[in-house]
Amino acid sequence: MTLAAYRGTALGTSMHVVVTDPDALDTATASVEAVVDAIDRACSRFRDDSELSRLQVGDGRREGIVSPLLAQALATALRAAELTDGAVDPTVGEAVRNAGYSVDFGAVPADGAPLTLAVSPVPGWRRVRLFPATRRVEIDAGVEVDLGATAKALASDLAAAAALDAMRGGGVLVSLGGDVSVAGEPPEGGWHIQIAEDSRAAITPDGETIAIRAGGVATSSTTVRRWQRGGVELHHIIDPATGLPAAGPWRTVSVVAGSCVDANIAATAAIVRGAEAASWLDGAGLPARLVDRNGAMTRVGGWPAPGAQAS
């Protein structure tokens, strides 16, 4: 089977669209771009004109009726917080901004003057309320929502589904910055996905590669979106308990799940949860690959052993 692929950029990162029917590539790509653009306009915290930014204008308690897409993104973020006991929390907005990630990452200076950061838990996801029937949202005073942890993965899932629907058959893979979602009929042997620290890495002959037939794969890492302030390394995954970049033993975690969103939630939560993450993932039946700060790998939940790589 011949696969066809489009490679571009979106949401400040890479975008890959791969289809099993080459004639459907343009249709699939257009569908993916439409979804990604809609997510950006709804959820970006780097655009003053995004729906989320406009919702959060002001210092006091904010409230309003949001679009179906922003409601879904908020629901996804709040579900992530609930399922991870707050390890993945959308109220990290102020904390990640204070750590220096206040603009699109491409514009964040790689180095800068020292920062003074205090250990302070984030406000907590229960201070954001969504009423699904009316799509009404209430955000308490002092709470800054950042949907970055889950919105990109949600975009991958929605984009893959939209592309499949537009293609009227076949199979499609969508990757947004390494958050991979597949839909439809997979190619023979499944979708082969190489796992790396950095989604920008080139595919290599000896790179660890897995195959999936449905769902998604996501990788969270502290090694890519990094910057220095006063010589101290910082990254974008905030531990809600401290309001500071997570300081656990894992630098990169990849997870396979029934959706890209769920894979992303688990991978990000694992970085935050630290030492107990491996047993948590294993207990949840989630195939996962964890890389510690020294590069040592732990595989749990049925993740294929590297020695079993097919040639």
Binding site: D157, G178, I195
Partner: protein, 104 residues
């Protein structure tokens, strides 16, 4: 003296929805209607579980892709499930790799 009103809990909502499904299977639409009020109340209980059905069915119009639901066919995203959905992986071939999953 009338009982004081309170918002239903997530557990009560889940029980109501399970009951509605059971009644739907047993008695059809009429059975489901008997607990419709509970389901409506459940929709406003809190976030997550009951959220996505509403949001998902209307997402497509906001993205301009299709009138059909855009819920991923194999996904629990936005379905409000109370646990993370599991997946499976097998060994792959680097020569067949379509993309890379890594940090970004």
């Amino acid at each position: 003296m009338p009982a004081s009103k309170r918002r239903i809990t997530a557990a009560e909502r889940d029980r109501a929805l399970r009951l509605r499904r059971t009644l739907t299977m047993a008695f059809g639409v009429a059975g489901a209607a008997a607990v419709a009020a509970l389901a409506v109340a459940a929709a406003d209980t809190h976030v997550g579980a009951s959220t996505s059905r509403v949001a998902t069915s209307t997402t497509a119009s906001s993205t301009g892709t299709t009138a059909k639901s855009t819920t991923p066919s194999t996904s629990s995203s936005g379905t409000g499930s109370s646990s993370l959905s599991t997946g499976s992986a097998s060994t792959g071939r680097s020569s067949s790799a379509s993309t890379v999953s890594g940090g970004s």
